[in-house]
Point group: D3
Chain length 170, copies 6
């Protein structure tokens, strides 16, 4: 059994993430999707809870449901034991897929393999840009798998993000 781990914040889970999962599943039997910064929610950068992100991911990956393991991971302050802390919350895995420089460096010091992800439309499929489209009532829907769009409607996600934008002058 070969298992890969794919970490991300998934705020929200978009078509670039979906593409990455499908890319990884070509070579691996199972993929652990690690929902990072799991304790963060209801902020402009992290509007969705870990539970909502898990929900989005499962709904988008119904076709691969027996191959995915979605696990929330809380951020810790001390970066150095990042990989060891992560391992305590997941089944064993062989490779990490990530383009994130910090993750690469934290794994390489442990001799653990990290592989690049050939992201789809890298300049468009970016969580931050999609959140900005949401705030401005632009076409955010086209960047997300349809089930994610549905979850966002169910939880009134657009209204939430717009409210989080408002500043109170206290």
């Amino acid at each position: 059994m070969k298992r890969a781990l794919y970490p991300g914040r998934f705020q929200p889970f978009h078509k670039g993430h979906l593409h990455a999962v499908e890319y990884i599943l070509k070579d691996f039997e199972e993929i652990i999707i690690a929902v990072m910064a799991a304790q963060n929610n209801f902020t402009l950068d992290d509007p969705f809870t870990a539970g909502e992100r898990i929900w989005m991911i499962r709904e988008s990956l119904k076709n691969y449901i027996d191959k995915i393991i979605v696990i929330p991971i809380l951020n810790i302050e001390n970066n150095f034991p990042w990989l060891s802390n992560l391992k305590s919350f997941t089944p064993p895995f062989d490779v990490i897929f990530s383009n994130h420089p910090l993750i690469k460096i934290l794994c390489e010091k442990e001799g653990f393999e990290v592989r690049e992800i050939p992201f789809l439309k890298r300049e468009e499929y970016i969580g931050r840009k999609i959140r900005e489209l949401m705030i401005n009532d632009k076409n955010w829907q086209e960047f997300l798998p349809e089930p994610v769009v549905n979850v966002i409607y169910k939880i009134n996600g657009i209204e939430r993000i717009k409210k989080l934008m408002e500043k109170d002058v206290i």
Copy 2:
């Protein structure tokens, strides 16, 4: 018994806050004043300890002393359970008074009522502006209830804020 909760950082407690308390006490028998970010102190944004803020508030509200309950609340990282965490530290309350978008959204998702506060001189009675007046030796005193001015003198608050302004080039 009808009880309202009024959350704020109160850095420091100013006449706008006093006005809000008096406004709420027209309709409620008791008011819980929640001193938020209670663990923060001796920073430029949060110069006063929770204890000092509680002191300022009590001294300013001597006339209403049997109607106020002042409780420090520590910030937690996970926003979602904000209301439930808050409730564990206070007597029961019926309504929250706040203009803060995040507080509104975190309460509304629980079906808990949040009411607006018609703030007095909204552009002047702002903690950050008052702290800037302190740093520049301007007329900060006129924005604060007199007992707050006295507490600030007793704790050498102006000197503290000015020192916190200094940057050390390390």
Copy 3:
């Protein structure tokens, strides 16, 4: 202004505590009642939330309402800075009243005065014993100020304690 601090867990606030407060108020103008272990609740040793304990205390001390300041204090793991941590959450105080050996030793090392409390009926007014009476449907009411009894009824406190007694065989 002379202010004393009186720390306790107050699970629940009983007549011995009430007696202690009245004793201290003979010599001090204000008393800070520090509700310790404030984050603990819904356990056999700590059944009541900090908020419920604050409520009990206020209701029992209506006659002294302008002289009391009730403040929840969270336990911290490192004992050594206990006094300094406490001070950050309260207005300034001159003396601590406590018979607790750890509190005495942690204050004495800082040169801070701790005074003994001549407790009333020391063998009867004990939180743990009163909680046992509650579990066994015995006369727990007589050991508590009447307003505390009322709060416990309002929050279904006896039912809570009995349920916490049940063990699940998992």
Copy 4:
């Protein structure tokens, strides 16, 4: 879509747990299995990591793989916001299945439904007893789904538990 949540420590996941899952799946389309005390591991009471427990559960429930969502939940010190904290890490759910008195009381105060589980062979299928059988080289295998037995062999689980039993006389 009707979704239930089933919390447990699963140290390890045994046939009683499996039976409970199958019982719940008769009435619900999806089940969230919440792996509690997720940060605890390598102790006598909690020998297996959250990741290992998730692994055991998935391997045992291959037949229901599209119906289960397994999520690690870290214990928090403040019991009161237990339900709200839990909700931030999971998709929405309608009912909690648990016989645990604390969980029942923490949910009932929020008006959230908790249902009993008719456990199979309640006196035998108990994590603690099974861990004792492991220490004494008795027939622990018969109480566990075969995939759990396999995981325990792969991670040298029996050796781990026996070593954790040893006391060092320091």
Copy 5:
């Protein structure tokens, strides 16, 4: 350069510990002495602060002062990343010396070497026993290096331990 790490709570640092350090220094150029449970103090099991323990150790090892590195390490709740967390607070080391089963198992799973320590008078040189001698005014001094005895006198350590023994009947 060959460096070993020797973890312990050192409550207090006794002749058995001293013997272990000397044993290790026969084969290693430097030894890192990790003062574990560093945040614990002023309890019966952990009466001395990390700082006091560091002081005792340095005073006892004046002859080896260029070969020892004494570092306090705070306990973390998640055992699994114990070794990785430890490494973030110390210079690199080649071997750990410990007889503690948990430490052995946590290092072995990482493929990191742990060696046994041939303790001196194992049944006598035990922190817990020495603390009991202190409480009972017995000959605790003979089990400790003389500089440790002196530090304990300077900090009124015996009085502290006796006071921590007293129970308050609250």
Copy 6:
């Protein structure tokens, strides 16, 4: 015995720090070097672990090895008990040497003496500037004691800092 404490982040330990240590050792028999923000590492502002910083400091101070005590100190959120928390992790000391305004104010409120350090070449010997030289392959080496340069080469420190500079467009 007169002992001074010198706190700093030492990212990395440079010639200005070395000069400060030598300045302090003129008047004090021992110096405690407190490595602050000890849990921070692998970030642009705090690239080196506490352990690596302790290593750099020891290697640079071989000539004073019997006079220095290097202790990592984790940052805490509540600033007020900073001094008391610090004291729990170190042997006793008489004076703190620091130019940092926050440290000065936090000590002065406790009546604890803080002395200024006459820094060498204040505009050049600055951690942030040296880290920028590293990123740009400029002459960072000349600002560091040679043993620090060697440690940085051994841990591939320059490569680490450059990688931490890279931003991933997620």
